[in-house]
């Protein structure tokens, strides 16, 4: 047993001494003459005192009062007993549901083992213990709030499933900290294999952090690359396999084009952390390439990858900005977008010979430069290749009108407050799509090789990013710049959240065959929880889209259990047999109550 406030024990001496002193005070008694005293029991129960001082006599009340004092001081010192168990008085169970938790080195798999441990913790918790459960998946969420309702907690636990996506354990820990960081005696229990993004900016507050590492082995082969590229010899399909384990391993690679097997080869034995690649000519006209490997490893979700070569199915976007979270979010919401960010245009992407790596370049209030990308979206500052000519700036323009076009569909600029607008005039093929009192606000141009959009204000110099129309405008702009009105095939990473310009209820069919109904949010349909690897079918507005979800994550494919974690600036080591310090003050409080009642009863009887 330990004490949380052991210094409180020192109070026993002065208070106990005072109580004993009270018993040294002598009773002034009334003299009574009796015929004989030998019949009277020599029984003195002094309950009042009004004179000094007498020899201390054994007294049941003194004993009970000292016992009550001991119990009170003991309770104030907050005694604690160490017991084996995950849960404490207030516990947040953070369960990692990331892809690596599906590894089967622990039977049936790591995630089920984590659930078993959580179930044990819930079932062994005391009636007064409060437990919350957080699912640390791609989108961390509290599946059971702080409560002492085991039935509800177990029901919530049974609803959780492992994913084939990367988990946001850091976000989940921050969420747990927000729940219990201010509570004394709280603990955050992380049930994970430790394979997640490094966690920073995390403070556990008053809560203790217990990390229970799940997993033993690390044998895993993964497809870490799949793509096509144009070469002088024609379009080539490349597939890479990586051994993430610590022992050599081999695999059989099968490649498919539009669902047809085009290659099957047994890879040589690959050493620890070694890679092996396979390049073959890609069949002409094929759009969807899939790769599968058959091997003996513990994680299956990374043994499959898909690449969609439809030019409109994926967009590589380069954002030139000093920092604009709103714009980054809006771009990332598009499932086609693979976003990179820079302060200036890389040399290789500037206008010149050869093809660029990016499909679209976005200038966020940065001077526009000529680039190789076929689409350019410019906010604020015009450049030499912009479809406008700048002639100054004006403050607080008044919105006048907007043209009916696909770019401006569902976008209401009339309610947007613009602090500063660049005064421009369209040039070349530039077409004004929106107009304010000082001139064109949105100008677009397109020709066979290039498409451009110029917006005459910076998002951060307006409240446009706060408006509903902003992500819609960005999605419309990407559609315009990519030259497509939407695609029927998409490739996303598992767990990725994205939106599609769909306004009716849609039905999503998962790789397992489950049907999920999705309702649009205004003019967009937000799709999330594509947590399993495989092909999803999205049916809406009479059209069917195929969405391929694959893992393609080195971190998720690394399944070696991490025994030590760097969380919030400190290292947390795995604890296989964590102890919980249960407060012992309740039995003491009960003892105090019993002793005081007993003392009162004895006092009442004696007096």
């Amino acid at each position: 047993m330990t004490f949380q406030f052991p210094s409180a024990l020192f109070a026993i001496l002065p208070i106990g001494g005072f109580i004993v002193f009270l018993y040294l005070l002598k009773m002034r008694r009334r003299d009574v003459r009796v015929p004989a005293s030998f019949l009277w029991p020599n029984q003195v129960e002094e309950i009042r005192a009004n004179a000094l001082i007498q020899k201390l006599r054994p007294n049941i009340l003194l004993f009970l009062q000292l016992l009550a004092l001991l119990a009170i001081v003991g309770a104030v010192a907050r005694p604690q007993t160490a017991q084996k168990g995950l849960a404490g008085e207030v516990t947040v169970l953070v369960i990692d549901t990331s892809a690596s938790m599906s590894a089967t080195d622990v039977k049936p798999n790591r995630f089920e083992e984590a659930k078993r441990l959580a179930r044990e913790a819930i079932q062994s918790a005391k009636a007064t213990d409060r437990i919350a459960i957080i699912e640390a998946g791609p989108t961390p969420r509290v599946i059971s709030p702080l409560s002492n309702d085991p039935a509800r907690q177990l029901a919530a636990l049974n609803q959780t499933h492992a994913t084939d996506a990367e988990g946001q354990v850091g976000e989940a820990l921050r969420l747990a900290s927000a729940l219990v960081a201010s509570l004394d005696g709280a603990r955050i229990v992380l049930l994970s294999d430790g394979n997640f993004e490094p966690v920073s900016n995390f403070s556990r507050g008053k809560a203790a952090l217990v990390y229970r590492c799940i997993g033993n082995l690390d044998d895993n082969m993964a497809i870490n690359a799949l793509g096509t590229s144009e070469t002088p010899a024609g379009r080539q399909l490349f597939c890479g396999i990586k051994n993430h384990g610590s022992t050599p391993n081999s695999a059989t690679l099968n490649l498919y084009a539009d669902g047809k097997l085009i290659d099957s080869v047994k890879a040589p034995v690959i050493g620890p952390n070694g890679q092996w690649g396979r390049t073959i000519p890609a069949p002409a006209g094929a759009k969807v390439f899939e790769a599968k490997i058959d091997c003996s490893d513990y994680l299956k979700s990374d043994n499959y990858a898909v690449d969609v070569t439809d030019p409109t199915a994926s967009l590589r976007v380069l954002l030139i900005t000093k920092g604009n979270l709103f714009l980054e979010r809006a771009l990332a919401l598009d499932p086609r977008v693979t976003l990179d960010k820079a302060m200036e245009v890389p040399v290789g992407e500037r206008s010149g010979t050869g093809a660029g790596s990016y499909d679209v370049v976005v200038f966020d209030n940065m001077p526009e430069q000529p680039v190789k990308a076929r689409g350019v979206l410019t906010f604020g500052l015009a450049g030499p290749e912009s479809p406008v000519t700048a002639s100054g700036a004006s403050n607080r323009p008044k919105f006048l009108s907007a043209e009916r076009s696909s770019l401006m569909e569902n976008v209401d600029l009339a309610s947007v407050y613009i602090d500063r607008q660049t005064v421009v005039k369209p040039k070349g093929l530039g077409e004004t799509l929106a107009q304010t009192s000082v001139g064109p606000l949105v100008v677009a141009s397109k020709d066979a090789s290039k498409r451009q959009i110029f917006v005459a204000f910076a998002p951060l110099e307006s409240d446009f990013p706060l408006q509903v129309g902003f992500p819609i405008f960005v999605a419309n702009a990407l559609d315009f710049l990519s030259g497509s009105g939407g695609t029927s095939t998409l490739s996303v990473r598992t767990g990725q959240t994205f939106s599609l310009p769909i306004t009716t209820t849609a039905h999503l069919t998962t790789p397992n065959g489950d049907q999920i109904e999705l309702k649009p949010n205004g003019s967009n349909l937000v799709v999330r929880d594509l947590n399993l690897v495989g092909a999803y079918k999205l049916s809406a507005e009479g059209k069917s889209r195929t969405i391929y979800a694959s893992l393609k994550s080195d971190r998720a494919s690394t399944i070696k259990p991490q025994r030590g974690l760097n969380l919030g600036g400190g290292t947390v080591k795995a604890n296989d047999a964590p102890l919980r310090f249960a407060d012992f003050w309740r039995p003491l409080a009960l003892l105090i109550l019993v002793v005081l009642v007993l003392e009162w009863w004895i006092f009442a009887r004696k007096s």
Binding site: R29, R30, V34, P35, A36, S37, F38, V44
Partner: protein, 293 residues
Amino acid sequence: MSNLVLEPREFKLLDGLRLNPRKSFGGKVRGERLTKKKGISIEFADFREYAEGDDLRHLDWNVLARLDSPVMRTYRDEEDLAVHILLDGSASMSFGEPTKFSGAVRLACALGYVALCGGDAVVPRILGMREPNQSTLRGRSSFPRLVNWANQSRDQEAAKDSLSTSIRQFVSSSTRTGLVCLFTDGLDPELPTSIRGLGGRGHEVLLLQILSDIELDPDLEGDLRLIDVERGTSCEITANGQVLKEYRRRLAAHNQELSDAVLRVGGRYALVHPQDSVEQLIQRVWKKQGWMR
């Protein structure tokens, strides 16, 4: 109360009663009590061979005629009975309303009257005080002397000896064995031992324990220092239900010990209140329990 302590009606009740001792005691003078000694009375004792010089009035002529052998009839002798009236004069007898001592005096006089009327020799003695021995009283005419002795003014607070000490002194004195009538509250832890001493000396003990309500149901409450009026010792108590219960238990045990000690030496024991009347005592104890007939 008259000078004679007893009411006229009580004299009538006492007339005709005689003490009924269980034992036979040798007397000093001829009286009305049969003794073990052979003598002249109407109580046949035994036969014996004729010896020269025997009184021929006691020769059994029927036996002589039938067996031709002279046989003498012997008879038990009749002498007086020594009745020792021991009155506890210790300080504890001054408690109660009326006091236990006054009750004891009244009952002692009543018993003394019965003894005097029965021709017994009454020897009164006060215990605890050092007084000259009273001469033996005989006959109904000595009753006023007995009353005078009992009514002497005494300062009980000045009692020098404890009850048991006084009894031991009585035992060791050269008194005639007889009936010892002890009138006391019995509040002496050594009293059972002293009673055994009386029995060992050959006396028959009649113990009349007189306890007032102060002893039987003390009305005490609170934190007290009890001062023993005889020994001068003190005892501190908190008079609560538990203590009073323990006191009653001890008193009952002490009384039982007294009773057992008396019965063991062939005596008689009774517990009375100082306010009990002589009539009540006669009906409840003396006649009912066979102390008198």
